[in-house]
């Protein structure tokens, strides 16, 4: 009896078990088998087969079926455009906003539209190019080959060589492109030492990643010292620094190249805080006279705090500061204002610094404030570009996505001998194409 009951119960239960368990069990076994077969297959063979199929399909239809991809092609193409709008109490805005990518007029400016190309050249080199288009105060389009360089990828001993035209690796902000700046305009200290376009030139840069337990990188650039982007050196506009008429000066020896050593080091102060410190110098001839030279020294610091569970990188706090000092040997020279006047030999000393604090309040919203200061020691030649100046700039940036931003910035300016000015600037940026990776 007992046995019959048990058998009966089993018979009754079996279909129930079957309903509850078998399909799920079978599905599981099937999926396991399917994925296992994929896992066991030679992935290279799979890809080759796939490629063969694609190729055959292309051949059949006679049309190319190559899939366009945002990245991963032979070359990444990106395009970034900045548009500024605003007003200043100074009618000659270009005398106040000295940077080449600053808003330069009351109303609208398109100070930087940048075509960025990069990719692996071959297993040994990467190639980069930045071609900048900009509209000047008169609405004329200017085009410049801002950067074009090769970067080695496989040198031994942790070395890396850069060759071509590039932003000189001096300090923190000088090598950055305008679209990655946290403010609408160039810091005064960088403008004073390196001119409206920053320091960049044609040359070589050797970098060495030191075998220290923490990040330490030593860099040495050797570049041409001639041109508008080597402002404190052999620049045609050097008269704006020394008040004299620049001379034509040829390079006589290697010492007359622009030489820029830099050392940078970084520590993770805690799980959530990182500090990056650097010291740089730039040595080269200037064209106030046949043997005059310029030395620029700088220190820079960047600190960032970001909590362990940040949302899309927010909130965060960051602080960036740079201090620069320039010693410009001005030779005995003919005054630019009056050819009958000869200016005496003198050393022009300038200092400048800025510090900026950014607070990423919540995802995609950043509030910032920057203090800017620059001063020139007294000299026989007084030029407006060496006058003492202070600027305070609070700003606010909204990033709808990583590919666009709106920024509003107020500038309080105080220029010695001129007085104070107020400016309000709006900035809009968009980015197309390759996603620009963020350096620290």
């Amino acid at each position: 009896m007992k046995g019959i009951l048990l058998v009966g119960a089993l018979l009754l239960a079996a279909p129930c078990f079957g309903l509850a368990q078998t399909p799920a069990e079978r599905a599981r076994r099937d999926s396991v088998a399917r994925v296992d077969s994929i896992a066991k297959a030679d992935s290279i063979a799979l890809v080759q087969q796939l490629e063969k199929e694609l190729g055959a399909a292309a051949g059949d239809t006679g049309t190319a079926t190559a899939q366009p991809r945002a990245t991963g092609g032979y070359m990444n193409i990106g395009f970034v455009a900045l548009t500024d709008a605003g007003w200043s109490t100074e009618p000659d805005v270009a005398s106040l906003q000295l940077g080449d990518h600053d808003p330069r007029v009351r109303g609208f400016t398109v100070p930087n539209a940048e075509l960025a190309l990069d990719g692996a050249v071959d297993p040994y080199f990467k190639g980069f190019a930045n071609i900048v288009f900009k509209l000047d105060e008169n609405g004329e389009t200017g085009v410049e080959l801002e950067e074009v360089y090769l970067l080695t990828t496989s040198l031994p001993y942790n070395l890396q060589l850069k060759a071509g035209q590039f932003f000189t690796e001096f300090g923190r902000q000088n090598p950055q492109h305008p679209h990655s700046w946290a403010f609408v305009d160039q810091p005064l200290a960088l403008n004073r030492m390196f001119g409206p376009e920053g320091l960049r030139s044609q040359g070589l840069r050797l970098s060495w990643l030191l075998p220290t337990p923490f990040y330490t990188e030593a860099l040495l650039s050797v570049a041409n010292s001639r041109g508008g982007t080597t402002w404190s050196f052999r620049s045609d506009e050097s008269g704006e620094i020394h008040g004299g008429v620049p001379i034509e000066r040829k390079v006589e020896d290697l010492g007359e190249m622009l030489i820029v050593p830099r050392i940078a080091t970084s520590f993770d102060v805690s799980e959530t805080q990182t500090l990056l410190l650097g010291a740089s110098a730039a040595f080269g001839p200037n064209n106030s006279g046949p043997s005059a030279s310029t030395r620029v020294y700088g220190v820079d610091a960047y600190w960032k705090w970001k909590p362990a569970a940040a949302q899309a990188g927010f909130p965060f706090l960051s602080m960036q500061a740079e201090a620069l000092f320039r010693s410009y040997e001005a030779a005995q020279r003919e005054s630019a204002d009056d050819p009958t006047v000869t200016l005496p030999q003198e050393t022009l000393k300038d200092r400048g610094a800025y510090a900026q604090l950014l607070w990423g309040i919540k995802p995609r919203i950043v509030a910032g404030i920057r203090g800017d200061w620059a001063r020139g020691d007294d000299a026989v030649s007084q030029t407006p570009l060496r006058a003492d100046r202070f600027r305070l700039s609070p700003n606010f940036t909204w990033y709808p996505t990583e590919f666009s931003k709106f920024r509003v910035q107020y500038n309080y300016d105080d220029r010695t001998g001129i007085g104070s000015d107020h400016s309000l600037w709006f900035q809009f940026e968009f980015l197309l194409g390759a996603h620009a990776a963020h350096k620290f």
Partner: protein
Amino acid sequence: MRIPNSYKVAALALMAVAGTGASANAQLRVVATTPDLASLAREIGGSAVTVTALAKPTEDPHFVDAKPSHIVTLNRAEALIEGGAELELGWLPPLLENSRNAKISAGAPGRIVASEGIRLLEKPTGFDRSKGDVHSLGNPHFLIDPMNAKIIARQVAEHFAQIDPKSAAAYRANLAKFNATVETKLAGWEQQLAPYRGAKVVTYHKDFVYLAPRFGLMVLETLEPKPGIAPSPAHLAMVIGKMKANKARVILIQPYQNRRTAETVARQTGAVVLDVSQQPGGRPNTGSYFAMMDNLVNTLAAALRAQR
């Protein structure tokens, strides 16, 4: 020739520190971009490897700071495991560029791209950022499907065996063990979730896309209207309506996602917000890949059971 003195000093200083390269370590130095990949590397590598993850478990893997310390870590790595499919596109390229390490350069045996063996879902047919930050190669959050973990583990074991032949047998043995564990565990997880086949869940980002089909769940909506786009009130109103109509009462949230938004939606729909993590270590009791999956399945099953 005239060379400034300071330049000479700098050159001497550089030479003085040269030639003190890192000494050979018996253990294979492995770097993984994210903690889930690091956990897999530990399972396969066992005692033959040391593993460092670049991203924190609580950190959004799309938004990791390219800290200089990561350059040093990558410089000394013998193997790098990355998710691929553009997951790390915003931060890994500049790190690799400066790491100067041929052992982990693209195509080298030391470079393991997890996505390469995976059948990626949501591969877009065209590229249009008006649809949000869609990855051109497909959805990169694939490790949440344990079957994909098997594929990656195999790839990891093969690469490890190639670059470190002396421990090849150990890697293969660990792989077999790992696969067996996945089999056993997966059977258990599937059993746990089997009663809830067809259950509808809501996520913040499209990051549980690979989990849903494995366990017969359905991701009804995401709180983000489009990948990487912050939730808008209009979109949330739509999600709330859809959740009510479909009786979806579970919202999955990772540590780096906006819990407050999820709470608001939960209040309106009677849903429960589940704090889960796809990254081992992102929540309590999620120390390894298996612990993380255990935690995820337990949490999900408990919540779905409670709503019966």
